[in-house]
Amino acid sequence: MSVLIFIDQSEGIVKKSSLEALTYGADLAKQLGTTAEGIVLGTVSDDLAALGKYGVQKIHQVNNAALNTVDAQLYASVISQAATASSASVVVFSHNQTGKAVAARVAAKLKAGLVAGACALPETNNGFSVKKTVFSGKAFAHVNVLSPIKVISLNPNSYKTVATEGTAVVEALAVTVAEPKVKVTAVNKITGEVPLTEADIVVSGGRGLKGPEHWGILLDLAKELGAATACSRPVGDAHWRPHHEHVGQTGVQVAPNLYIAIGISGAIQHLAGVNRSKVIVVINKDPEAPFFKAADYGIVGDAFEVVPQLTAAIQKMKAGA
């Protein structure tokens, strides 16, 4: 028996969301009285043995260049073979882009019940029940998993990474790797920016900023905070900002430690994508804006005056600290 955790990497570097999945999987293994093992695919430059500090005892590696890009079919085949080899009773993924492509396939292959978007450890005293977000973050469901093998994908930013001491044994896993059918021909990473779904802080702008030419004040604030930038749907629709920045029920769902909303009214569909944020700050000139009801801190004021002052004040705090 084991808990098998999929370790997602990009260009050889293990993703932050996978460190959360590792901590979660290791805690689950402890709860179940079993071992935590990892599976990593492709060429990795990170020190895999050092991932033992997140509680994983063994890491299976399939170091095959065919796995350096994601073909969900191939990934699912290899991960399922690893699950069988390690007699996994639970397979854990991050519910990130790769997890969304692969976890469901692995679940179908292993005839394992899937909880996608989990946000807490399972209750295992009486059955196996996992809490997950539903209705775009407006509620939670407790899902009973009825099958012997279970697959869980963990919402990014919902489980705290804990590093202690430890070294993992890294072993090459002998599996058959077919030729990928999905051929990646170009990768277009937005360099110099923090990926939105991995960001600790997100600074987001709405129609209140009036036009793309006014985004400078928001970008300055984001830069000062090391934050990712986001926007409301009409801003994306009007091409003031690229569409991948659109957050909300029909866009990207984020759960950063801090979400700063500037000139966004706080429509229910917008809130659905951001309400899992730990702390929400709203800057809006309309005291009646619905966003204030969902906020922790707020300033009723003109964004064009408040935002540059905020950037300056943060600069000052940092200089003083």
């Binding site: 994601v70 969900a72 079919q73 990130n96 882009q97 492509a101 976890a103 469901a104 396939r105 679940a107 179908a108 292959k109 019940g113 899937l114 996608a116 978007g117 997950k132 977000t133 539903v134 209705f135 775009s136 407006k138 509620a139 939670f140 469901a141 407790h142 009973n144 099958s147 059918k181 999905v182 051929k183 990646v184 021909t185 990768v187 923090v194 990926p195 991995e198 802080i201 991948h244 029920q249 029909t250 801090l258 229910i268 569909q269 659905a272 309400n275 730990k278 702390v279 906020a295 922790d296 801190y297 707020g298 300033i299 009723v300 002052q309 905020l310 004040a313 943060i314 000052k316 705090m317």
Partner: protein, 247 residues
Amino acid sequence: MKILVCVSKTPDTTSKIAFTDGNTKFDEAGVQWIINPYDEWYSLVRAIELKESNPAATIHLVTVGNADAEPIIRKALALGGDEAIRVNTDNSDAYYIAAQIAEVAKQGGYDIIFTGKETIDYNGSSIGGMIAELVDAPYISLATKFDLNGNTATVVREIEGGEETAEVALPVVVSCQKGMAEQRIPNMRGIMAARTKPLKVVEPAAIDALTSIASFELPPAKAGVKLVAPDNVAELVRLLHEEAKAI
């Protein structure tokens, strides 16, 4: 070319989220039902566009649901699509639903199967991947573009912090999101035509569900907003630093 578009019924985005029966059931009182926006705006419209450039293509819609899903299917048919199939069962387990659609897919022999990136109620992002596994086809998730060149699809999909372009031979299963197409409004002709389009009802295959929802829970209410005067942003910075420990 045959395209299968998976369509799901979801509560309207402004619906009040509440539960009944000791928090075990979604409270449907007063809820308006819509086509899951990802299914409607992106997968269905992209399928219609593909048919517009290749009139020999056929589009089938499939939904897994009770008779009360039919208005949604008719609305989808008003946008486009040649016929619809409803698998007559109600179940929330992703595997159960995907396995029903996979049965339909195997019988229809489709070149392309489109799903939305997720439903806005269950947020699983699971159905497409499961169908793909069950019909043994490649899967492209979170696609923002899909173009055909003969039997090869060129797709753009979301990755962490960017996107990538990939090529894959048909048949393929694709989950669609923003970028794939632009939302359309059904016109009168479409609405009239939809009334007479075939809507086949099939009984579900014998599949065991692998999960079930035990209960729901609402998040705790926020304590209330702390307002800071606009001429005192330093105070906001102090609160974020010292109290919220967020910066």
